[in-house]
């Protein structure tokens, strides 16, 4: 009788411990996960900001002529308030893409710009 009651306590304790472990471990996992989750948002913002500031820098460089975008085509000019006859003003469509991020993650910013230039001695007339 004594033995069986001793065994009962042990089994109960073990079961209780098991239950407690079952509760604690997921909590621990959950905590670490949420920590990671919280960190990832900051990381994402950081990465985004990095890419964005790089993009802004590249835009500046492009405008100053220190940097060349690889993709550009000659296009009809966008509508301007101070409009020009088509052939006097030349427009180029530039696409500037800046990518950043880690191994499994990519973040990119793409800007489309129109470069308007007046070629020397451009032809007259509206077309």
């Amino acid at each position: 009788m004594m033995l069986s009651s001793k065994g009962f306590i042990l089994v109960t304790t073990l079961i209780l411990m098991l239950i407690l472990t079952c509760i604690t471990i997921p909590m621990l996992v959950q905590t670490s996960l949420s920590q990671k989750l919280a960190g990832s948002a900051t990381l994402a913002v950081q990465l985004k900001q990095q890419t964005q500031s790089k993009h802004v820098q590249q835009l500046q460089q492009l405008k100053q002529g220190d940097f060349e975008s690889r993709v550009f085509t000659v296009v009809p000019c966008p509508a301007l308030y101070a409009a020009w006859s088509d052939l006097s003003l030349q427009c180029e469509w530039h696409q500037l893409r800046t990518a950043g991020g880690a191994l499994h993650h990519q973040h990119s910013v793409t800007s489309f710009l129109v470069r308007q230039s007046l070629p020397e001695g451009g032809r007259d007339g509206l077309y």
């Binding site: 990832s40 990381l43 994402a44 985004k48 835009l59 492009l62 405008k63 296009v75 009809p76 000019c77 966008p78 509508a79 301007l80 308030y81 101070a82 409009a83 020009w84 006859s85 088509d86 006097s88 991020g101 880690a102 191994l103 499994h104 993650h105 990519q106 973040h107 990119s108 910013v109 793409t110 800007s111 489309f112 710009l113 129109v114 470069r115 308007q116 230039s117 007046l118 020397e120 001695g121 451009g122 032809r123 007259d124 007339g125 509206l126 077309y127």
Partner: protein
């Protein structure tokens, strides 16, 4: 005495050296100089002129004098310079089909091209040139860039309404002109041709197959009668008809001014704007030699035009703000700029191209500059009206000599005021340059009308030494306006000098973000 005789002999001898060249194309013989005809060619000419052999000889003798009488120096203001690889010294002007290639350099000969169908009616052409109600259109020049063949140069011209024809000349070299093709009522496909007083327009199309020539031309069928075919679309090198625009609606008395433009802005011209002489402006879509969706966009017949000089289109950001001080809401839209003749004066019209019923005279705002410059005030009410209505018009004294040029929102018009008794005399005419604000047609410079010593040729914008831009006359290289202004959207009358340093200008059209993958 001996010296004088020697001088006379020298003069006689040297005369043929600097003599003008008179070219024409005799069917069956090809391009010939009229001063060097052989017997057969002479006979062909005599039968074409319906004259006897002797009279033909006399006619040929009188030809230089006859062409001298035909010359109209006020029209010379419309002459176009030839490209440098042909001969930069020469300018070409068309007297209703009779072409004059004249060099500024006195030592170079003047070259005349007389279209064969026009030879019997040369004497009547001058009357057409002196008709103030008509616009004499100039030929279309196709250079090597457009033809995509090095050294090639082709000229396409319409001719007088006396015997309507279109023709293409190959001018390579200039001194051996060769007729590529000509289109008259006798040519198959052109039976309905009633008038050719127009400027042909070039259409560059996408290739449909290998070896296909991509260049075609639009030839308007002008003339007083009601035509079925309004435009012929022909192959540029052969003159073969590829398509035609048939008038479904009542379009009569077509003017020779038209323009093609790229409405959807994909770099392929897809629309055509043309007008009747009275001022009914039509729009048609075109694709693969087909024309469709022909619609009336404006009926300005109550302005009583006699002919249309130029039609041009322009894509601009037009202010649409409701209140007087709001300049910041703008809409991108196509504008049509029209130069029309009205008795001895002219009217410049700016139309906003938009959906809806055709614009009437009442839908436009009269923005004629008052005689006293101080009276030209743009009130808030005016500005509001211009923004709400379909455009503006402005009456102008004199006629345009060149298509209007728009630079930085300013419309530049080169004007010629002719003496009504001596229409063809440039000495009796006065020239002026006018600069109007694109959006409300007020004067942009302090002086509304800038008088000029000489009539201007094509207007060109060039950089100047002060770091700005100036407007120059390409043919005489004279500076017309030293520091060009640009309109600014800050207020209705704001302008500022255009700076070279502000170019190139960058405009940000949009920024897009994208994200891929996952964090670890």
């Amino acid at each position: 005495m001996g010296f004088i005789r020697l001088g006379l002999w020298l003069l006689l001898f040297s005369h043929p050296l600097s003599a003008d060249n008179y070219w024409s194309h005799i069917p069956g013989f090809g391009s010939v100089q009229l001063t060097e005809l052989n017997q057969e060619q002479h006979t062909a000419l005599a039968s074409h002129l319906k004259l006897s052999q002797e009279d033909t000889k006399a006619w040929l003798g009188h030809l230089p004098a006859q062409l001298e009488a035909l010359s109209c120096s006020t029209l010379d203001a419309q002459s176009q310079p030839l490209p440098a690889y042909v001969d930069a010294d020469y300018q070409v002007v068309s007297y209703a089909g009779v072409l004059k290639f004249k060099a500024d350099d006195q030592t170079k000969d003047t070259l005349w091209w007389l279209p064969w169908p026009l030879l019997p009616s040369l004497a009547q052409i001058r009357a057409e040139l002196e008709d103030l109600a008509l616009q004499v259109h100039q030929p279309l020049l196709l250079t090597e860039q457009e033809l995509k063949q090095n050294g090639q140069f082709i000229l396409i011209s319409g001719s007088s309404n006396q015997s309507p024809s279109y023709f293409a000349l190959k001018l390579n070299p200039l001194h051996l002109p060769e007729l590529l093709w000509s289109a008259t009522t006798a040519v198959a496909g052109f039976e309905e041709l009633t008038g050719a007083m127009a400027q042909p327009v070039l259409l560059a199309e996408q290739a449909q197959g290998p070896g296909d020539s991509l260049l075609s031309l639009l030839l308007p069928n002008t003339g007083a009668t009601k035509q079925k075919t309004l435009f012929y679309q022909v192959e540029a090198f052969t003159g073969k008809v590829r398509g035609r625009l048939i008038a479904g609606q009542k379009v009569s008395d077509l003017s020779g001014a038209l323009t093609v433009y790229d409405q959807n802005r994909d770099s392929i011209s897809d629309s055509l704007i043309f007008s009747t002489k009275a001022g009914q402006v039509w729009l048609a879509q075109m694709e693969h030699n087909q024309f469709y969706n022909i619609q009336l966009i404006a009926d300005l017949s109550s302005l009583e035009f006699s002919d249309i000089q130029f039609v041009r289109t322009l894509y601009a950001a037009v202010p649409v703000g409701g209140s007087g001080s709001d300049f910041h809401s703008r809409r991108s839209q196509w504008l049509v700029l029209l130069g029309a003749l009205r008795q001895e004066k002219s009217v410049v019209v700016l139309l906003k191209l938009q959906e809806g019923p055709p614009a009437r005279f009442a839908d436009l705002v009269d923005r004629t500059l008052p005689a006293a410059p101080g009276l030209a005030v743009l009130t808030d009410q005016d500005w509001q009206q211009i923004q709400q209505k379909d455009g503006w018009y402005s009456h102008i004294t004199g006629r345009l000599t060149q298509p209007p040029v728009v630079a930085a929102g300013v419309v530049y018009l080169s004007l010629l005021q002719q003496d009504l008794t001596q229409i063809c005399s440039i000495d009796q005419a006065s020239s002026a340059l006018m600069a109007l604000h694109l959006h409300h047609a007020s004067s942009v410079y302090r002086q509304p009308l800038l008088p000029l010593e000489k009539a201007t040729g094509a207007l060109v914008v060039k950089t100047n030494a002060q770091g700005g831009f100036s407007l120059i006359d390409q043919s005489q290289q004279q500076v017309l306006i030293d520091n060009l202004l640009e309109i600014s959207p800050d207020c209705s009358h704001c302008t500022q000098p255009i700076q070279q340093g502000s170019f190139p200008r960058w405009q940000l059209m949009g920024t897009y973000h994208s994200e891929e993958g996952a964090y670890e």
